[in-house]
């Protein structure tokens, strides 16, 4: 029997006004016409509360594109959940934010593509930065937690200090600086986005110094790019171990990119009870625990720390979802990652050539 999930990640829509070059949503997105109704979502959220979840993360796409987002916030709060909204800030007004807070919003995570307006709008493929600055001001009118999320990559990792100053000026409680992870659309632009080892090395003392300077004022989380890690990340806190994700059409998944793994069937949470999905479904059982592990994971002392790393990355790079995450220095396939890094940095890439994510699902 598995322990209750800690959080329900509700990906309420895949629609998004941004066209980020590193969009992490799956390549095949759910169309608007397949999105669950307010009633379906409310029912799922209620069940998550009963199941013992603590947090509800409302995310997307851009969750504000759903007109019923206030009702979903209220459903979360009424189900005893801590409600977090992960947003670009587009679609928010001062009044709409006030209503969300009144409905029970606890925490807002606002994304930034850069500290400089021109660059930020370029990475997002849309004019968005100025609106985000306004949203940050409105957030500080309320007693809710405010996390700023800054996405970094080869084109802007040399300007970390400016990004940190921006979050500080905006009054964020916490800044999460995340290097792009290579899933979904980001793989397409990997050659233009993956930082060099030197850039990464230079970023560490900056983070350290700024953390010390801002101690007690603003916390800074720094997520390194997997490809340069010695050991893999404990992806999703372990498969089917602490997080339960529902996609816009109701498909229950252990991780939002799990669709890249062949042979998995995702049960629909609008039709099947959440508890049965979490405890018994084949998709959640597939990589739970250690039975599925191969060597070197099986006998590794770190298997309870990183749970073998990321199954989707094993699939995407090594072609086998049950393999050790190839970013791990102990993986016999680590050379594949090293080849990728080398391929990117030995002259082949043209920094200006990248592909924006055009929303293929539109607002149908």
């Amino acid at each position: 029997m598995s322990a209750a999930p800690q959080a329900l990640i509700a990906e309420v829509t895949h629609r998004c006004p941004l066209h980020c070059v590193y969009c992490s949503n799956p390549l095949e997105m759910q169309a608007a016409r397949n999105e669950l109704s307010t009633e379906d979502w409310s029912g799922i959220i209620r069940q998550a509360g009963q199941l013992g979840c603590w947090h509800l993360h409302l995310t997307g796409g851009e969750p504000l594109l759903r007109r019923d987002i206030g009702e979903l916030v209220r459903a979360g709060r009424q189900s005893g959940l801590y409600v977090n909204l992960i947003t670009s800030g587009l679609g928010l007004t001062r009044e709409r934010l006030r209503l969300l807070v009144e409905s029970g919003l606890d925490h807002i995570q606002l994304s930034f593509q850069d500290s400089e307006e021109e660059a930020a709008n370029m990475f997002a493929g849309v004019t968005a930065h100025a609106q985000k600055l306004r949203v940050a001001e409105w957030i500080r009118e309320h007693r809710i937690a405010f996390t700023a999320n800054l996405v970094v990559h080869r084109q802007n990792i040399d300007r970390l200090r400016e990004g940190i100053r921006l979050a500080e000026q905006l009054g964020a409680d916490k800044l999460e600086i995340a290097n792009v992870q290579y899933y979904g659309w980001a793989i397409r632009n990997r050659a233009a986005l993956l930082p060099s080892r030197e850039q990464l090395r230079a970023s560490l003392p900056v983070i350290e110094a700024e953390r010390a300077r801002l101690s007690g004022k603003m916390r800074i989380d720094y997520v390194l790019p997997d490809y340069y890690a010695k050991y893999p990340k404990p992806c999703m806190g372990g498969w089917g171990r602490s997080l339960l994700l529902i996609d816009p059409a109701g498909r229950a998944m252990p991780c939002h990119s799990a669709g890249v793994i062949p042979g998995l069937e995702f049960p629909n949470a609008a039709r099947e009870p959440l508890q049965a999905i979490w405890e018994q479904s084949a998709a959640f059982e597939r990589f739970r625990g250690e039975e599925w592990m191969e060597e070197p994971c099986r006998s590794c002392e770190r298997k309870e720390i990183d749970f073998g790393g990321c199954r989707c990355q094993a699939m995407l790079i090594a072609g086998d979802a049950a393999a050790t995450d190839p970013v791990c220095s102990l993986s016999p396939q680590r050379f594949l990652v090293d080849d990728l890094i080398e391929g990117v940095h030995v002259g082949k890439s043209n920094e200006q050539e990248w592909v924006y994510r055009i929303d293929p699902v539109g607002s149908r």
């Binding site: 800690q6 606890d106 925490h107 937690a145």
Partner: protein
């Protein structure tokens, strides 16, 4: 503002669960045991640590005053270090 003279209050985005046994925070949740829920409940920004201790002593008659005082202060400091609580 130091812990000695300040009045503790939960930071924005931190609150007790409806049942009162879990402190919900942006990154997760802290399970509260024994008198910890009572202490957190009392952190409403109007009471000093000394006043919170006095309330606790009324709720748990017979408890060792020095021990309650020390443990409350150290618990509140830990929450403050975690960024969950501030002194106003």
């Amino acid at each position: 503002m130091t812990a000695r003279e300040g009045r503790p209050v939960l930071k924005p985005g931190c609150r007790l669960s409806a049942a009162g046994d879990v402190l919900l925070i942006p990154e997760g949740a802290l399970r509260l045991q024994g008198p910890a829920s009572r202490i957190v409940e009392a952190c409403d920004g109007t009471r000093t640590v000394e006043e919170i201790v006095a309330t606790l002593l009324k709720q748990f008659p017979g408890a060792d005053e020095t021990k309650v005082s020390q443990e409350t202060a150290s618990f509140l400091n830990r929450l403050s270090e975690r960024g969950v609580l501030e002194f106003v």
